[in-house]
Symmetry: C2
Amino acid sequence: MNKTIEQLLAHRSIRKFTNQAIPQSTLETLIACGQAAATSSNVQAVTVVHVTDINKRARMVKLSGGQSYVASSGAFLVYCADMNRPKWACENQGGTYAAGMTEQFIIATVDVALAAQNTVIAAESLGLGICYIGGLRNDPQQVADLLRLPDYVYPVFGLCLGYPDQDPEVKPRLPLNAVLMTNQYDASVFPENVSSYDQTVRQYYKTRTGGKKDSTWSEEMKALVGKESRVHMQEFLRQRGFLQK
Amino acid sequence: MNKTIEQLLAHRSIRKFTNQAIPQSTLETLIACGQAAATSSNVQAVTVVHVTDINKRARMVKLSGGQSYVASSGAFLVYCADMNRPKWACENQGGTYAAGMTEQFIIATVDVALAAQNTVIAAESLGLGICYIGGLRNDPQQVADLLRLPDYVYPVFGLCLGYPDQDPEVKPRLPLNAVLMTNQYDASVFPENVSSYDQTVRQYYKTRTGGKKDSTWSEEMKALVGKESRVHMQEFLRQRGFLQK
């Protein structure tokens, strides 16, 4: 155990921020930390759009399903998977870009997540709170239009950063045995582990909501993956130049 | 600046490890740190297969294109995007799994990368070194067979962990201005920024290789994205139950 590990284990999303701004120099340090993350073949397929325009912030609140902290957080960043920059470099060298590869989509999406998580860890080490905004994928075409994203770039998620104005509990996770396996996948651990976790989650919600929310992880998974979600994503990505082959 | 930020900025991949083992309790702490990362709707679509079997490690070296440290590192983890566990929970509640959604593929892949990066930061805070192994996607079907991965699970990358037996330089990254934009995407910054970075990269390689390697970022991008790569990925993922719609 050390301070870094304690910090990682203490993570919780923050959805209420003070109106204290984040200095530009701090923001740049956080982005530099993101850049320092591993990147596949040094492709660095990450572009971060810092949204400071209040009208664009307000639009982003709507596009992400009414999450008000997208406007009220100290900073709002849109993390984009960006194959346009390596394409530009390739063409500048006289090459022809091999567009649409699923492998490139994976590389760029993973690059984005690694960089964002580094920025998150750096931010939390400075006392900031964060919240990822997957809701930007509700209407990614409008996000792309608003930020004038070119082809071969897509918004993976947003990230709110700011000084916390709340102190929520850490959300419990699945038992380690349900996610760490040795030498081969073993689904036989699910019944016991998921059942025990279901009760942990139920208790967590009851405590947090004063008894109002009564739900288990399994029930939430049924609601989440028991129906189709963001059905536009494949077509959107193909039109952007991703996942074509 | 603080110690966490200094650590993040000092990251470099390690490809040579001492033969010191990583205690199981340390490994479990590292995985718990990964679990503490943000996860979309708490789906926790991450399964980590710890490969201890020496025959499987040897096979993984071959499957990843001959990267010997896949066998010689203190630990080798395969990070899997896992929609099989939420599917199991959904069905256990009487639901019907909505398979094949591209959105789910994004969620699971991002979940994996966030968790892995937390584990990496925790590992490095303990003096361990790491190396991501994207090469597992060279032949992901064989990896899946070797680890008996069920449908709706795919290996995103491997991760070598161990005590470093080398001390490489930090690799320079693109100028901040090339990746951090304000309110809208702006490709006009590329010519100047990429050109200056090309020279930085050339100098970095020259110094590191005693003049042997003479290449720029743009030249490497031409080689990387100027041709198709891992052309099997789309079909592999569809057969696994991903990216079908």
